[in-house]
Every structure is written in C-alpha cells, then in structure tokens.
Symmetry: C2
Subunit: 359 residues, 2 copies
C-alpha cells in the first residue's frame, strides 16, 4: 500500500506491505486521518519519545530501526466482513481508539513499527474497538473523534462543579475540544486564551464565552475577574479561613505544553483552583512549589481517554452537539502531507489538517 513512512527523522511517501488481520481483527481502508501535534513532535524527537516512554514504563516501545506509519486520529471503512457474530459488514464506516489489545497488554497504533496508523491506505483494527460512524457523518469530521475524546476525558477528570469558572490556555485542537466538552456540560463561563486571532474565533464558535489575546490582556486576570467579581485577589489565607468574599470554584486547562507554562498557571491560579494539564511538555520543567502549596491547588494530569469517552465523542459530533467544521481547514493527500506538517509547525492559520491517503 501507499503510506507516509517515517524513518530516521525523515518522512517520505512510499510502498509498504499491507497489514494482515489476525483473529478478532478487521482490515480497514483509511478514509481520513488528522495530523496531531504529537506526530509533529515524534518526527523530530522520536528517540527522546521512545527513551522517555521506556523510563516511564509507558505503552510506546517502538523499534526505530524500521519503517513506521504514524497517524492515530482516523476514520476508515471495513474492507471485509469479520467472522464474529457481531462483525460489521464490509463498507461500514468506522472509528476506533488507536490501541489494540493483544498478548495480554495494550499496544498503540500509529506509534509502532508493527501496526501502521492512519497515514497508510490500510489499517488493521481490533473488532471489539470498532465504533460505526452514524448519521452519514463525513470521514473528515469523524476523524476528529480522537482529539475530542482527549478533551472530553480532561473535562471528565476536572471534577467540575456547575458554578465553575473555566479558563482554557491554548486553543489548538485539544483546547477547542475542551471548550466543546465544557459547553456540553453546561459550564456558563468559559474563558479561552490564544495568541492566534483565527483560533480565538474558532474558540468562540465552539463555546468560549470570553476570548483573550495574551499579547494584550492577562488571561488569568480576565478569568479571575469572572471568578472573583469583588476584585482580583489570588489565593491567600482568606480562602481557607472563609474570610471576606469567596471566589467561585475555578478550573484551568493547560493545553500548551511548553516549559514554564505550568509556573505561569500556578502564578495566575486562585486558591483552590483545579489545574488540568493536557498540554504535553516533553522536556523537564521548573516550578515554585510554594505557589500551588499556598493556594492548595490540585494538578490533574491527563493523557489518555476511555473507550466510552471515545464513543461518546463520536456521538457528540454525529448528533451535532459539537460542530467540528470550524476546526478542519483542509484535506491533503499523502504527497502534500509533509508540507502540511510544516504548515502546522509554522503555527499559521491551520488548526487541523486531514490526510486522505487515497487522494
């Protein structure tokens, strides 16, 4: 099959063996696959990713001496009906979490030399993970299920209260997914910050109630003014002694993931703010513990999502609860994918670019 192949720090379009389904697996023709920030990172820092994952005991033991087909935000179509009693018919459009269960342990798809991801024309998926795409939803939009699941999971982990005032730092795909999930949960005050005007526009379209350009206004002060209308007053003894005006419960979603960002969040947080870290900072980071200590913050780190959250996200898109159209700028073929990677890295106007390996 044709595929975008990663090897030795470079990407090229080439031929690779079609993957072959084993028992309990389906051969799926890839229709669409979104480019994720972690794909961009992997291309430049694969050795660091693999080495760190190994130190953590994580799920990404990747043989970098072989061809790798990335892509984990995908939608496809079943090529051949499976043999199980609940097998889906050929031609059924499906999504799946980008993981397989084999040999008693979970393995990733799209970060693996053994299991090609969505930048190839075919994938092999576990039948138990397949979710049919309802309502004639387009493959491009269904491919957004994965980042939407990341956002939904982050919101589910935030232990939201109905009166929470939310701040979303960074309006890339994950920040936008969080805004959409917050809106569905009925959160009435969603402050969102991004340097990009186009991303701020999309944030507003997806449910942000106040958007802020950090180049001109402090996102933290804007958000705190909503949480604490009596005046901006960061965490202190008063919150714990319940002296004076108390802020509304508050939550910050950190969706940037660069060193120094978390310390800024700690400086801007209020007493008792829950801080949900979704941005993936790959390098060591530095912070001053006295800030979160003094404010008694909870820091909730998020990385995965459950199969239920994944299926719920597809439902949310297909039922129109989330309109992902403003996020998806364009669809490219394999030959244009490398340029699309570069465009996303340059931080220009694109938010999510979809790869169609058959285009």
């Amino acid at each position: 099959m044709h595929a975008l192949i990663y090897r030795d720090g470079r990407m090229r379009v080439g031929e690779i063996d079609d993957p072959r389904p084993a028992a309990g697996q389906a051969l799926v023709k890839t229709l669409a696959c979104g480019i994720c920030g972690s794909d961009l990172h992997f291309v430049h820092h694969a050795h660091h990713v693999v080495e760190t994952s190994s130190r953590i005991g994580g799920g990404f033991p990747i043989d970098l001496g072989r061809d790798i087909v990335l892509g984990h935000e995908f939608c496809g179509e079943i090529v051949e009906r499976g043999r199980g009693p609940n097998a889906l018919a050929a031609g059924t459009r499906v999504c799946s979490i980008p993981f397989t269960h084999a040999d008693g342990s979970g393995q990733s798809l799209g970060f693996s030399a053994d299991r090609p991801g969505g930048y190839g024309q075919y994938m092999v998926l576990n039948e138990r993970n397949l979710v049919p795409v309802p309502n004639g939803l387009s493959a491009e939009h269904a491919a957004l299920t994965e980042p939407m699941a990341v956002g939904l999971h982050a919101v589910n982990r935030a232990r939201l209260l109905p009166e929470d005032v939310a701040l979303v730092i960074g309006c890339g795909p994950i920040g936008l997914a969080i805004i959409a999930a917050l809106k569905i949960q009925g959160i009435s005050d969603i402050v969102a910050a991004d340097f990009s005007a186009s991303r701020r526009r999309v944030a507003e379209a997806m449910g942000a109630t106040l958007v802020v350009d950090p180049a001109t206004v402090s996102p933290y002060a804007s958000w705190a003014a909503v949480a604490y209308p009596q005046g901006y007053q960061p965490g202190s003894l008063d919150a714990f002694l319940k002296v004076g005006p108390q802020p509304r419960p508050s939550v910050i979603f950190e969706c940037v993931g660069v060193p120094g960002m978390l310390q800024k969040v700690f400086e801007g947080a209020l007493a008792g703010t829950r801080i949900v870290v979704v941005g993936v900072c790959m390098e060591p980071d530095r912070f001053e513990p006295l800030f979160p200590l003094n404010k008694e913050n909870d820091v909730i780190f998020c990385f995965y999502y459950s199969g239920e959250e994944y299926a719920r996200s597809l439902h949310n898109i297909a039922e129109g609860l989330i309109d992902v159209a403003p996020m998806t700028s364009r669809t490219v073929g394999l030959n244009e994918a490398t340029d699309a990677f570069a465009a996303l890295e340059s931080g220009a106007e694109d938010i999510k670019i979809i790869v169609d390996p058959w285009k």
Copy 2:
C-alpha cells in the same frame, strides 16, 4: 513578658510587651508550644519567606524590621474571662488555630510582628477560634493538635477509597500525623519510609503496617508490591485500557519537601496514583511532566486546614484515637529553645520538642 525573640536572623530570649486583647479576643497564658520545621526554616530564610509570600498573595506579610515571636503549635490557659455570652472561664485550657480574623482578612499568629506566637508567655487569641482541651489532656499533648490537623487535612484532601494502598514518604511530625489519620480512616495498608530508625519505630507505633528504610529498600517498590501483587509494573497503557491485572487504588503522601523529591515520587508512582504534597519545598523544583502525564496522576497540594479539622484533631488526641506520646521527646524552657532548634536541624533523634515559656 519573657519570649524567644527573632530579629535579623537571630533568636534570643528577652522581654517584650504583653499583648493586649481587643474586643472578641482573649488573653491566654502559653503552656506549651511545639517547634515546627517552618519555624526552623523561617529563622534562616525569613526574607525569602516574606518575599515569596508577597509574590503569591499569601497570608504572611511580616515586618522583618521588628521583633517577632514565633510559635504556632500551642496550648494555653485563659487568663481572664471574656465578655461574650459564650466566653470561657479564666483557667480554661484551650487550643486555637494560629490565625486571627480581623479587619475583614485572615492573619497568622506566630509569623507576625503584631501578634506574638507561642514562644512568648502570653498570646492574644480570637475567642471564636478557642477550643477547650477536654479530658484533662496535658498541654504538651494538646499542643500537637496543629500538626495533627495538617495531617488530617492532607488525608481529607486525598479522596481516599477504602481499598487504597498508602505510601508515606518521610516520617517527621506531618508524616506521622498522616499515618495516624489514615489509621483512623481504616486504611489497611500504610507503607511508611524514613532514613531514621527511631522515626520508623514511631511510624509503626502510630499505625504504619510496613516501614521501609530507603537506604536499603525502595519504598516505591515495597508499596507497589502491595498495590500490585502480580508484580511491580508502573503506569502504562494497560491501566487505561483495563488490560491485564489492575493495581489497587493508590496514594502517596510526600512529606519531605526538598527539590528533586517530587520527581522521585513521579518515577515511583503507579498509573492513577494520587500524590498528596504536604512537604513544603521552599526552592524552585524540577520535574519531567511526561511521568505524571503518562500515569495520569493527580497532584494534590496541601498547606492549611480548617477549623473543623483542627477541632477534630484535638478530639482525636483527647479521646485516645491518636497517641502522640511517642512523638514528643522532651519539653524545654525558653533558654534551651535555641539549642532545641539546633538539635532538630541536626536531624538527630528528636521528632517534636515542646517549649514551655514558663519553665
């Protein structure tokens, strides 16, 4: 009155004006005051504490150009009956949170040039904060209420599950308070780690079910073997996909508070472990975000406690639910207090030394 006076980085015993109660306040004769690690720190790093607190917006605006009487773990005796309808009689033995409410904001006692703490012969306390000491409990043991409240608050913030496997890193007074609170909550597996053999002995006496010397055995491996009897397997994809044997829910209490400690905790944590940070690391710290991200840890920072937790802690001591006797090594007078500070800093056998300003 006689008091241990801090000024310009030095401690000396001297005379200072008796504090005078205002409306709603009681004059209290100090009977006992425990020496806390934060007192030791303040003596050497007062300017850093004040400057950092100011940056955080915290509750410690301290005038370092004046005499300061430290001490916030105290028990005293009411000198004169107050005027309110619920005022306690003279001679009543009382404890109090080391905070006052005045002018619409909370202020600390024992870290203040205006409100002398428990290393002076008299204190002025807010009547609404006074808690009578029941059951003829000794003042030395009642003075342990404050560190016990810190531990109880940390345990209350940990969102414990009945089947949690707990690890307590560091068995100073706060680690021991946490062990005691975990035992009261019915947690059946409490692993505790400290380099000091005497502290490990006290940890066992207070409820630890397994004590570990980190010089010879990894506390994390010992704890994980309880949480994950199928074999030590740190966080990975499997926990999120629910593939293979799942660990019991788990929680780590970090009670050391030195740079680098949190990263060690992140390395040792399991997938989903809640990490409660109670150790007060005063310096900037460094960590690798990929560890808590990949394991989806919650990091719960603790600093204060509520009035209810304080009163509950006094109850726990007075009713014999916590035996603080193994923690309190000796009681000294003001003239011996400076030597006691030095003994605690040397990390010798003492755990908690009590100052009696009338001795």
